[in-house]
Symmetry: C2
Subunit: 316 residues, 2 copies
């Protein structure tokens, strides 16, 4: 029987937990735990492709970039390059820990980390309205100087009053480059790590000529598109709660077991899910199912392998 193919999107806490500083040791330990939990799916005979975020990591890379420019006059690297750095770094950690976990369990698979570009549409309306804050906070005075230096950049005031930050577009993923190779590698039994940080956004400047662009693709939407484009049977979105809740933290709080796309859309419209947290995961789930996926599961990694795991989003 053909093995089932699952895309698993690692959440931010698979790498770094609240209050941690971002040392390598912290990240290795967190990743090791998540990889260990992931073996539950491998034991159930799934083929696996892993997607992951890069928020705090690319934030630190941007700061190092600025510091290197100021202290050593090094060229500033654009955001696509910083994203590529983060894919190398995080992919390496996940691959190494996954390898160690599998070796300890006498499971033998190749684990391949792909530096991955994701095609976006230069006419995506997100480019008219950049909203995704990146990099450090600036004071009003710093902002004036920055605007002169980089007249094309857009900055926005932080709603919590911490200053101003550069904002970039968050376009939709259109095509995961190398998707056919990714599917083939995974169906051959290899574990593939890809679309790190939502993938490096690239677009066609003109036919036949691609170029990276200052933008950030939502990692859950990128993993969802990946799951669709490699014909995955199931899509797992890992987070830090066992199930999705409605009326979260209220007396009538309720954990959801199985919901339809229609239910999910209604809860979204009702504002049940926090933007920047559960809402994008729900949207990613809806997109996967609407594009023909069978099942999406939102849960935390330690639940994997249990019966009735997480919140399932299904067509109907």
């Amino acid at each position: 029987m053909k093995k089932k193919l699952a895309v698993v999107a690692f959440g931010g806490n698979a790498l770094l937990r609240a209050g941690q500083k971002g040392t390598i040791e912290e990240q290795e330990t967190n990743v090791h735990d998540t990889c260990n939990n992931l073996t539950a799916l491998i034991e159930q005979d799934y083929n696996i492709v892993i997607g992951h975020g890069n928020g705090p990591q690319v934030g630190n890379i941007l700061l190092r970039n600025i510091a290197g420019h100021k202290m050593f006059d090094l060229p500033l690297m654009p955001l696509d390059i910083c994203g590529a750095y983060s894919q190398g770094f995080i992919g390496y950690i996940i691959e190494q820990q996954m390898r160690n976990v599998l070796e300890s369990k006498k499971m033998k698979r190749d684990i391949l980390t792909l530096v991955t570009q994701v095609l976006v549409d230069k006419h995506d309306k997100a480019f008219q309205n950049p909203t995704k804050p990146i990099g450090p906070y600036y004071t009003k005075e710093e902002l004036e100087a920055l605007k002169k230096e980089n007249p094309d950049d857009v900055y926005a005031e932080d709603p919590k009053g911490r200053g101003f930050r550069k904002v970039v577009a968050s376009p939709n993923p259109v095509e995961i480059l190398n998707k056919n190779s990714i599917e083939k590698l995974a169906r051959d039994g290899n574990i593939v790590i890809t679309v790190g940080g939502g993938g490096i956004p690239a677009f066609y400047v003109k036919p036949g000529e691609m170029q990276g662009i200052d933008a950030v693709i939502d990692k859950d939407l990128a993993s969802s598109m990946l799951a669709t484009q490699i014909n995955a049977d199931e899509f797992y979105v890992l987070t830090d709660v066992p199930k999705v809740f409605i009326n979260f933290n209220k007396p009538n709080q309720q954990a959801l077991d199985v919901i339809t796309v229609a239910d999910a859309k209604k809860h979204l419209d009702d504002g049940q899910f926090t933007e920047g947290s559960m809402a994008p995961k729900i949207r990613a789930a809806i997109q996967f199912i609407e594009r023909g996926g069978k099942k999406c599961v939102i849960t935390e990694s330690k639940e994997l392998g249990k019966d009735n795991v997480g919140t399932q989003i299904v067509a109907k």
Copy 2:
């Protein structure tokens, strides 16, 4: 007929040329040229795997690392992580430019960039005698402070009097991780980019548990080992001269067309080749042939596709 499989090691000037500052635009243009020249091999129906260096790039990453630590109190990333950064970054640029070159020539192949670890032996004698300088130069006063902060690190005085630098071991590559997948991907017609910067050195702390290590694997030796382990027919080492010379810059200077391994060893022993430049390429060539490879060619990329290209190193 089965296509021939070639490993092509990009030299430093494929990325950055003398006097350049290291901007992305410079590196993209240089890489584009090299990729364009590489299509001569693809037109001759080779399957291709690309290895590359990371010297100047990882140098800048180390500086940004130090600057980020000093300015923003960010954790210092160890050398294996900096190598992983550089693989993501350089691999992304090569993949994107190679894709653009192939699209412009209506050639269709997937191009995959793998973040690649290379197994080293913790008993490699290189670890007893670290010689590879990395990162910035320090004054004697800075050195004393550093030694207190990092008592396990080793520093050496620069022979040209520019100060002191950290030195790390340069162990031999033992195994290219994922070598079977790399061979399969390449033989399926994909172009694979791997062993960037010689690969991320990793070793077994104990059976079943791998870990990265503060070391640098010579990129030519890593590409040579890759060529052996994926059963490549030919190994191309790209540099900035069309052929290898003996008596270089002397009245009796002579370009070499075809030499045997025995010739190559004799010239090496005679001190004909500069350490840190042609000598490691010759050693990488010798190793590939001695391990059963058919042909190694040392040349510059624009020579590819010509008759009687470069200097060929053969068994006898």
